[in-house]
């Protein structure tokens, strides 16, 4: 995208920013870096100055625009409802065409085109997580047809730290008698990282492939443990199937008494709303209802919850482009969790689990990080 196209697409929206600054304290990167270029207002000003030819895109604007977490917290507090996340991603497209974008993004595109997953792994290993399930016949979850497709996502497929998430989700569905399948090696990256990388046009091939594979299975429902895959399907795919996040399906199973909780879970837990699940797709209550259905568990809310939830630091590809910043944001998140007296933080996203758990280990913070699927399995056993 060039500046003329950016003007056409973004100028009216970015002009709605009247620079009141209300977004500053909601922007996780501003709170860490404390400089205007790391704030939503500052990033919008960059877009506007660029459109008005008052500022050239260069390495500095690349740094500012590519360190946005895409969390959307700024818009939640914006009285003019400026869609900053969208503006940032549009600006990223412009940065890409101007040649100012992180090298890692270029590599990412190549990997996605060649390997169809973000880890540059063999697609055949996508279902490796099944090895975590004891006594399971090979390919047990790979059927020709099924009611439900479980779209696992790249991170949960390839990062050992979070492979237990799909394993647990599969166990839950199996136990509840859900007729589901995974796409295994035929599942491709949903393309979400490309939006964050400023190359949304490259998403088409992935979308077409995934839609075709789901159609072949004949599934009426697609379930996701990854909020970003779920968000991407919601906003960028056109699928006739019903899209559900794992938390929504699990809650249905609880309500239909298809799963039951037999074990008391001790401790004080809070819940971190993943940006792409909560604020960006609107799923807030189902995870809370599940938590409240767990016997014994004490639940406390974070002061900034639901649409005001603070990003864990794992959003917007920032973990790739500026790992230190991502870690600093995560550290702030951990501090806010400890401040409410929780010993466990629950969430519903493998990326949030990875970001928070890694940070907790490195900073020796005494905190248990769990995906909801794990909590559910523990209470079922």
């Amino acid at each position: 995208m060039n500046i003329v196209q950016l003007k056409k697409l973004s100028y009216d929206e970015v002009a709605k920013c009247n620079k009141c600054g209300f977004c500053l304290p909601s922007c996780p990167t501003y709170l860490v870096k404390k400089a205007e270029s790391y704030s939503a207002r500052g990033r919008n000003a960059i877009t506007r100055f660029a459109i008005e030819n008052k500022l050239e895109l260069n390495e500095d604007t690349e740094r500012a625009i590519f360190t946005c977490l895409g969390c959307g917290a700024c818009t939640a507090v914006c009285l003019s409802s400026v869609q900053t996340k969208d503006l940032i991603f549009q600006n990223r497209e412009c940065q890409v065409d101007a040649g100012f974008y992180p090298k890692v993004a270029k590599r990412l595109v190549k990997i996605l085109e060649e390997s169809h997953n973000i880890s540059d792994e063999d697609q055949e290993d996508r279902a490796e997580w099944q090895e975590l399930i004891k006594e399971l016949p090979e390919d047990a979850f790979e059927k020709e047809t099924a009611d439900v497709v479980f779209f696992v996502g790249c991170v949960a497929s390839f990062f050992p730290m979070v492979q237990k998430i799909p394993a647990n989700m599969a166990k839950i569905m199996q136990s509840a008698g859900v007729d589901f399948t995974i796409l295994g090696g035929e599942e491709w990256c949903c393309g979400f990282p490309l939006i964050g990388a400023g190359m949304p046009e490259k998403l088409a091939a992935m979308k077409d492939h995934n839609l075709k594979k789901v159609a072949k299975v004949g599934a009426k429902t697609i379930v996701f443990t990854c909020p970003s895959c779920y968000h991407t399907w919601h906003h960028f795919y056109k699928s006739d199937a019903k899209l559900m996040h794992a938390s929504q399906l699990i809650l249905e199973l609880i309500k239909d008494k298809k799963i039951e909780f037999n074990k008391n879970i001790k401790g004080v837990a809070t819940y971190h709303d993943p940006c792409d699940l909560g604020r960006n797709t609107g799923v807030y209550e189902e995870p809370r209802e599940i938590i409240k259905a767990i016997p014994g568990l004490e639940f406390v809310e974070l002061p900034m919850n639901r649409k005001f939830s603070v990003c864990c630091g794992g959003g917007g590809n920032v973990e790739m482009t500026d790992p230190d910043l991502s870690a600093q944001v995560a550290q702030t998140k951990l501090a806010s969790i400890k401040a409410v007296g929780a010993d466990t933080v629950l969430t519903a996203c493998q990326q949030c689990v990875r970001t928070m758990e890694t940070r907790a280990k490195r900073s020796k913070t005494d905190l248990v990080v769990k995906d909801l699927t794990q909590l559910v399995i523990e209470a079922m056993e």
Binding site: D12, A15, K16, C17, N18, K19, C20, G21, F22, L24, P25, K34, A35, E36, S37, G42, A45, I46, F49, K54, L55, E56, N58, D60, T61, A64, C78, L79, S80, S81, V82
Partner: protein, 460 residues
């Protein structure tokens, strides 16, 4: 001084990570929440008074303009570096240094966000009263410099009534302390002079603020009127009755509609205006005062008076009021707020003039303001990108401020003069008044390097 040398010197003081000088960074410190823009030469993020002192001494030695900045929420260009130079961004100096509940003071650095302090002291049942609508982002340094007000300042006074002492870095880097934890102090009241000086006499690096007990009980009423005049008359009638509520805020139809776009408050969208009337203090006698207020509202043809049932309802009423400025972005992308003050009894008359001025220049104007203080905030809505509209806005703003001054009022209630209202100072000051202000400025800053070009018009 050569720019590279200046940057090198600043690097030595605060470290290179805290000196910003790229073209992008300079552009990003060229604005605040007003319409003005001007680029600095360099931005610096100090972490201590000692660093600020060194930066100031450098600026003094090299005769470089310098100004302090918090969150940049100013509405009159107070933090726009019109003469270039150094912008000192206080975002890292954001520590609450001490809360002394026994003496009821809080000592804070200038970068502390107002609401962060308020949230902290409320845990122990205390309040820091000044509550500018921007409190969730504005900083204490900015509030002190602009002498910020807010809805509750009707009863409790503006920022100057809540500052007991300051640490100020003077033009040559000297650090002075004014006032203190004791309530009475000998000598000139330098604290009073610095508060509201719009950052033109020195850089505030510490403030000792007054804390008060949180009121035992609060009652919040929403009075709905079908005519602006009735609302305005109610305001003066309440005060004439001898009741000083904690707040008496007015919001007109245009603003209510904009607010409802983002915050679902439930304002009556067919009404001409509402008053948010809040009573606070001891529960005894509060019901009587509330009844009296309702009676006065009735005498002035109120359509309905609603009482906020609980804290949640109260919060949402206030969220609407405090979000009003930003919300007008739902109507038009830009706004200019004319912060004029008039004697309360003149409110109906001046509000009518505001409406006429809006018609004359064909501009939508919303009203949301501290009615109890007679402090108007007509919000002229437009699109900054439209040059013609922009020039009409500036003319309309001048006329509105003239109307306020002519009614026996003034041109700034709380947002300051900044660079936006320099020529309008002529409506309220004569040349002798202005020259005396210039003398004061020279006493602090003979080289005119501290936030130059603000608050006082240059000698004609």
């Amino acid at each position: 001084m050569d720019k590279q040398k200046l940057i090198a010197s600043l690097n030595e003081i605060v470290g290179p990570d805290n000196v910003l000088s790229s073209e992008m960074d300079l552009m990003l410190y060229s604005y605040d929440a007003s319409l003005d823009k001007a680029k600095p030469d360099v931005v610096v993020l100090p972490d201590s008074t000692e660093e600020v002192s060194k930066i100031m001494a450098l600026a003094y030695k090299e005769k470089i303009p310098i100004l302090g900045r918090g969150s940049g929420t100013n509405l009159t260009g107070g933090t726009v570096p019109i003469k270039g130079g150094i912008v000192v961004h206080f975002s890292r100096m954001n520590r609450i240094l001490e809360i002394d509940y026994a003496n009821r003071t809080a000592t804070v650095q200038p970068g502390v966000i107002t609401l962060d302090l308020q949230t902290e002291v409320l845990k122990k049942g205390f309040v820091y009263q000044p509550d500018p609508a921007s409190q969730k982002v504005s900083t204490i340094g900015g509030n002190v410099s602009e002498n910020s007000g807010g809805p509750h300042c009707l009863k409790y006074g503006v920022t100057s009534n809540h500052v007991q002492g300051l640490e100020v870095v003077l033009n040559d880097g000297t650090v002075i302390n004014t006032g203190g934890k004791a309530r009475d102090n000998a000598g000139y009241d330098i604290t009073a002079l610095v508060v509201g000086s719009e950052g033109t006499v020195g850089l505030v690096t510490k403030a000792i603020l007054k804390l008060e007990r949180a009121p035992e009980s609060v009652k919040t009423l929403l009075a709905i009127f079908d005519a602006i005049e009735d609302g305005a008359n109610t305001v003066s009638a309440i005060v004439a009755e001898g009741i000083i509520p904690a707040t008496l805020e007015m919001m007109d139809n245009t603003v209510m509609r904009a607010v409802e776009e983002t915050i679902k408050v439930g304002y009556p969208l067919d009404a001409a205006c509402v008053l948010i009337i809040e009573l606070d203090g001891m529960p005894e006698g509060m019901d009587d005062n509330a009844s009296k207020i309702v009676e006065i509202c009735r005498q002035n043809h109120v359509r309905d008076v609603r009482l906020a049932k609980d804290e949640a309802e109260r919060n949402v009423l206030w969220a609407g009021r405090k979000g009003a400025f930003g919300s007008v972005g739902q109507v038009r992308p830009s706004y200019l707020c004319c912060d004029g003050t008039v004697p309360r009894t003149k409110l109906p008359e001046v509000l009518n003039q505001v409406i006429e001025i809006g018609k004359k220049y064909n501009l939508p104007i919303g009203n949301v303001f501290h009615a109890g203080d007679g402090n108007l905030h007509p919000l002229i809505m437009f699109d900054e990108r439209d040059e013609d509209e922009r020039s009409r806005v500036l003319k309309a703003s001048t006329e509105i401020l003239k109307a306020c001054a002519d009614a026996g009022g003034t041109i700034s209630g709380e947002h300051g003069v900044g660079m936006e209202k320099l020529k309008e100072t002529a409506f309220i000051f004569n040349e002798c008044d202005l020259e005396f202000e210039r003398q004061i400025k020279r006493a602090f800053d003979p080289d005119d390097i501290i936030n130059p070009g603000k608050m006082i018009p240059a000698n004609s």
